[in-house]
């Protein structure tokens, strides 16, 4: 229905034809579709967030088994809009509550990777199957990665130690009436949209440039199915790039349509959003370089494996 409206607007109402009309059509169609879906998903997530806060998670995980802790932390990572700034208080808060380090790392891996905006955009462009698979693999990487990082880290790698939380740490939460939650979720969803819409436009714009100007065999030649190292190259190229999911996710569709395999494209996206230099700088406040390097390499290897797995099953 939306497609035919855009058809009507571009081809009949504006009476445009040719390649410019096609790009305009692509841009309007994608832009509105992606932004609407993001708005819906962010709204739902903001609403859930009025019930679940980081402190809730901390109190819940305390004393649970390592697996449950990792899994909960990873799932919770989907629900939190990732700001690198929040990773430090979270890291310290968890260690203060003496929650196993593995859960903390699961969260640190999951939060940027299973970004709700990335999931929304994948859902908008490829449907629920790809979005679900991406999320599932993201969760597995987070759970397993958290476990391994915790195994290889020692107490010397943690630079700040906080005193054990006395008073059980239970925090009191203000009870909000339902309509207030609805309203506050709406406010935060609007704020998120306001923050990211320019990045989405940039992403869709770069995407349409790839659509129009990059020759079809260029990407296929270097990162297509014939190249067994495609995933590896994509991940290594993606780590130094720092961009939010909002910009990189709209690129996946054009990249795959130019011959990149889906797994390669998704690995690239995971590497861009999950591992970044600014995040490393912030983590430096609380952990040693050794641990940060280990953290990044373990996540990098995880992402590469996910990419190959994706390429095999799709």
């Amino acid at each position: 229905m939306w497609l035919s409206s855009v058809d009507f607007f571009v081809y009949d109402f504006l009476a445009l034809h040719g390649s410019f009309a096609d790009s305009l059509h692509f841009f309007i169609y994608d832009f509105v579709k992606i932004l609407t879906l993001i708005l819906v998903i962010i709204y739902v997530i903001s609403f859930i967030q009025t019930y679940i806060k980081t402190e809730t998670l901390r109190d819940f995980i305390r004393g649970k088994s390592q697996f449950v802790g990792n899994l909960c932390a990873a799932i919770f990572g989907i629900l939190t809009p990732f700001c690198s700034c929040s990773s430090i208080p979270l890291f310290l808060g968890f260690s203060q509550a003496r929650i196993p380090r593995s859960a903390t790392f699961s969260f640190l891996i999951s939060s940027p990777m299973n970004n709700e905006i990335a999931i929304a955009i994948l859902f908008a462009t490829f449907g629920w199957k790809i979005a679900l698979l991406y999320t599932l693999f993201g969760l597995i990487t987070a759970v397993v990665g958290g476990y391994i990082v915790a195994k290889v880290s020692t107490d010397e790698d943690i630079l700040i130690s906080v005193p054990y939380m006395k008073h059980g740490g239970k925090v009191h939460f203000e009870k909000l009436p339902f309509f207030k939650r609805v309203n506050s979720a709406w406010q935060s969803a609007l704020k998120v949209i306001k923050d990211i819409y320019l990045y989405v436009i940039a992403g869709i714009f770069i995407g349409s440039v790839i659509h129009g100007f990059v020759p079809a065999d260029f990407i296929a030649k270097y990162a297509g199915a014939d190249n067994p190292f495609a995933v590896l190259i994509a991940v290594i190229a993606g780590i130094p790039m720092y961009s939010g999911a909002a910009t990189v996710a709209p690129l996946i569709e054009p990249l795959t349509s130019k011959g990149m395999l889906m797994g390669t494209a998704l690995s690239f996206m995971m590497a861009v959003v999950a591992l970044s230099l600014p995040e490393a700088m912030i983590l430096k406040k609380v952990m040693s370089w050794r641990l940060i390097c280990l953290f990044f390499s373990i996540v990098g290897v995880g992402i590469i494996l996910v990419g190959y797995l994706f390429n095999i099953i799709l």
Partner: protein, 77 residues
């Protein structure tokens, strides 16, 4: 009244929250000692993991989100 705004000292949210609290104080004409806390160990002592947070007279009143002026004024009550 003693108000502390807790932050992680890395994004602009805490700064924004400080400004809003100042505005709320001038709107209501209340007097308060206003302080910004970015020392992480001190922030942790309040059991706060999501910033910015507002502490009034030693009690954590809000966390994890920048409150607007009306919401801050409601905390003064």
């Amino acid at each position: 009244m003693h108000i502390k705004v807790l932050g992680s000292g890395c994004c602009s949210n805490c700064e924004t929250q400080m400004e809003i609290v100042k505005k709320a104080l001038s709107t209501t004409g209340k007097f308060a000692k206003l302080e910004k806390v970015v020392d992480l160990v001190e922030v942790m002592n309040y059991g706060v993991m999501s910033t910015p947070a507002i502490v009034i007279n030693g009690k954590v009143k809000a966390r994890g989100k920048v409150l607007n002026e009306q919401e801050v004024i409601a905390l003064f009550e």
